[in-house]
Amino acid sequence: MSPTDIPLIVLPLWILLAAFVFCTLFWKYVKVQAGIAITAVSLYLVAAVTLLLAVDQQGILVVQVGDWPAPFGITLVADLFAAIMLVISAIVAFAVLLYSFQDIPDALRQKGFYPVLLVMMFGVSGSFLTGDIFNLYVWFEVMLVASFVLMVLGNTKGQLEGAVKYVIISFIASGFLLTGTAILYKLTGTLNMADLAQAIARHPNQELITVASVFFLVGFGIKAALFPFFFWLPASYPTPPTTIVAVMAGLLTKVGVYALIRYYTLLFTYDLSATHSVLLIIAGFTMFFGVLGAIAQQDMKKILSFHIVSQIGYMVMGLAFFTPLAIAGAIFYIVHHILVKTNLFLISGIVQKTQGHNLLRQLGGVYDRYPFLTFLFVLSAFSLAGIPPLSGFWGKFILAKAGLEVQQYFLVAVSLLTGLLTLFSMTKIWKAVFWSSAPEAEQATAGSAVPLRRYYLLMAASVFLALCTLFLSLYPDLFIDLSNRAAEQLMDPQQYIQAVLPNK
């Protein structure tokens, strides 16, 4: 590690934190805050990309915070997986911030929308970069509290009800995570992930480690919205403003998945039949019941919320197959899902803006009136459903291939059936919102249909994400290759351990 690398890992965190502090200094001046936020997020994006390039060239990068040697201080680690996640979350943050300029009412901005959003991204980035299990817990808290505040910013009754469910279930998750962390510390005497990986491998009573793993499975499972822990997600996502939902739907659950992948590739790998077979079962149920939930809904945002659950199942399925290809598939799927899902929420928000609500039964005529919006929706929706050559297909394809290679026929069948059901529920939105005639009340005002030009920033955000999706769809090789290398790094924990603890 040369001295020039040090700021590279810390930089994304530092940018967000500094921007947060400046935003609070300019509390009364919302426009200044907006300027700070967009500058910071752009810099954050640049920093993340730079970090990814550096990790790609130099291997895993490590910073010992405060120069206390590992495992005594806190270590920040950037491997390919973490760097990829950082880049994708920066992309989403950028798009969502752009969108927020025209979406978030002034009243909310004056209550600290920008600083809280920045802190949430701070928490997300910290979770990706930390190499310490207690520190991860802290980042999760930062993320949780910030997201909770964002959620209740509107202060409407529906929002509060959803947010209370979210925060209480999340607190339960935090409790599990903290207890699990304490147990692991008690059993091994260390908190550093790399050190822990070695200590677990040496530990005489693996069953006790499995006990600890249950705490993390449930804790992260709640965060990631796995079956049967996903209830908070459909309950709380449809209510807050679109911007906030989009960034949460896109990112937060995936931080849970990230943590699961991290723990289940680095720490809990000593007895796959005890840990990963549970994941396998959970993945199957998550996929299936998630998509069933989507089919049962009549509200566009609710359908989209349940899809998240179902697709988290795909990612965990990749983890449970536990081959390099499967993990690569999971990583690819996460990135694809974040892009597409965020964009779908953004688009549903635009539809909501033009029509006033999101109920399928009372929507219609978008296809005739807004062909370009329709195109954006088609791109994302059919990508989510896995129609080639859109990005979702590649994720699905890699996971199916990986599953068939390890002869998990049943789960692959479930995942393909889930794909079909996803398509089914997407065509439901398509039929009702885009193809069907506009409802009669609307038709009276059809002449004065709101021109999309007025929402240029909303559209710009959506187009930006759509372009990212298109790139991922048409040139998947670049990213598949990257995912493959990230997966190989994950499947070889020695690289991680060597980077953090070079002397051991």
Binding site: A107, V149, V164, I168, V218, L417
Partner: protein, 767 residues
Amino acid sequence: MHYIIVAIFAGSLLSAFGYRRYSKAVFAGLVLTLLGIIGYLFQWLPDILQGERVVSTISWIPSLGIHFSFLLDGLSLFFALLITVFGLLILSYSHRYMAKSAERPAFIGYLLFFMGAMVGLVLSANLISLFLFWELTSFSSFLLIGFHHHNEAARRAARQSLLVTAGGGLALMAGFILLSIGTGGGYDIVQLLAQPKAMIDSPYLHAAILLIAIGAFTKSAQFPFHFWLPNAMAAPTPVSAFLHSATMVKAGVYLIFRLHPLFEGVLLWEYLLGITGAVTMTWGAFKAFRQDDIKRILAYTTISALGIFFMMTGVGGQEAINAVMVYVLAHALYKGALFLAAGNIDQQTGTRNISDLSDLARKMPYTAGAVILSTASMAGVIPFLGFVGKESLYHALYHHSQDMALLYLGLLFLAGAFFTAVTLEIILHAFLKKGTLRADPIKEAPFLMVLAPLLLAVLGLLTGLMPGLTVEPLLKWAAASLYPADPPTMQLKLWHGFNLVLLLSALTLVAGVVLYLWRKGIQRLRQPYWLKADYLYNQCLSATESLARFSTDTLQNGLLRNYIAIILLTFSVLLVFPLVEGRAAYAIPSDFLLRDLQIYEVVVLIFVTFAVIFLFKTRSRLVVTATFGIIGYSIALAYTVFSAPDVAITQFLAETLTLILLIIILHRLPSYTLKKPIARIKYLTVSLLFGAAMAVTAFVMLHQSKDSDLERFFLENSVSQGKGQNAVNVILVDFRALDTLGEITVLMITMIGIIGLLTLKPFSPKR
């Protein structure tokens, strides 16, 4: 070769955006482009007729072995020409057919998009790029079938075809993956075909066959997946003519042809295709005779013809394949012409029902000419290509050694008879019968719309008259592509002399006349509604929706306590297994409870116990929150007892903040609903189970001891390196300062949130 596909897709985009303003110029440009492509394909003809193969590859996703790779041999050239020549005719027809529609640009755009996908499909030499184009055809046909999207029936039909074909597509994808795993190679079709025996020995053989067959069956509307095709007749007529006669539905047939060398001789392959095809053929022909709507008649005869293709491929053998190739061409010619003529009739008269039509022979003489010529080909009347095709089919089946061949022959005879009967019905009723339509001012369709069907019908006659000179060379090599090891054997003649097969052909016509005369009896037969595939499809959909609603209402019932109970229950169950498994690792000492018990600890314990009991009694949210406070503060007290005052202060602070936050929110929520006693027992059980699991875990963990390097390091270095006497403080502000930074941020954000909650008035979202 890839430029062909790029050109068609570019044309699709161009027409979607430019057709409105420059319709003539764009149309001319498209026609020229297609002519160029056809010319390009013809330029390869001499090479292909020498038995050559042309392969070109563009690297795309090397890490997965997926490339845009294209193969031109007899088979793919035949299909590519079929698609582009038909595409050209359909394009010119649509240009006129949609002339009055404001949505013509989109229509032409979709049509070309579909064509590009279809050409890509038949030229692909990589299984996955083939699959990509396969799904694109499903998707574009979804857009085309639902083109009249204000019509509910069209929307429904579009969704149905998408779900059926995409569902089959998923099976196909799995089949392709198994194929590549089974042969141990990539997805390169040329390589796969070069070693046809590699798959035979694989354990995945039968699974792959089944999955690939399901893909082909759904796409090519084979029984029991055939139902989407008649419903897809909601599409504009040019779409039906293009997608549902000449091209898309033949994608499955093409796939079966393409992979036939890999699977020939496998019993599952032979019987699956043969029997499915035979059933579809018979059923389709029978159903066709029972329809009134001309387009639905054509749809069912198409299903039947597709059945013939599958059946013959299942029978196998070079002669059968030769015969089926001829019939593919014959079918495309007559069915394309018929669909287009049906479009003319629909547009000029406003109806497609035979019972409402009459006297069309006088009113629309050119359309009538096209219909008569092409239905004659469909019935297999000499000297049309349909006759040549039917003769070859009979001949191949009659001389085949497979045990099912004669049964197939009998069914084919029956289907042929039905075709004849349908032909008679269309011509006699819609065209020759005198009727009320006579008085209406019905005119012949415009030139471009007559030209296309008439051209196809006349081609059917000419090629039938001189099959050896016109179509034999290409068809020969198309069939030979399936048997790369053997020389091509096809020899086409119109007249084979008087023999048994000719007699059979003649008898088919006679039987058709008999069936026609008996039509009232046949059309009276009732099919129970619960046996209709379409009905079963609907049942499937609504069953899925009911299951979805049921499972979601059960799981996601809106009650937070229920969610928590499920989470805790799952957690406890998951925790019990490793605890039981690992019980050897720990022992529970008997006197653990009373050892070193201090009086403060007892006090705190009593506080907590009473608070918990009180919790169960109370019904007010506010009191519950307050009681939680008591528990929280008691725990903070416990921290002071265990000499960690700073942690205790933090706990006090956190507890206070939480309380304030909760109380602010709580009074905005609906009042507490009373639980039934049974529910209380349920939640009590879950709580006890969870509590017990946690207690055991905590206890077990307390008795695990491990010397920590961390503790030693912190104690040794806090004074010398951290410059602090209190090790905990040094940990918080130095060793693990990042944690503290995070926690401070949490506090700050909580404060912002509380301010927001206190001051913001509820707003109503603006439109």
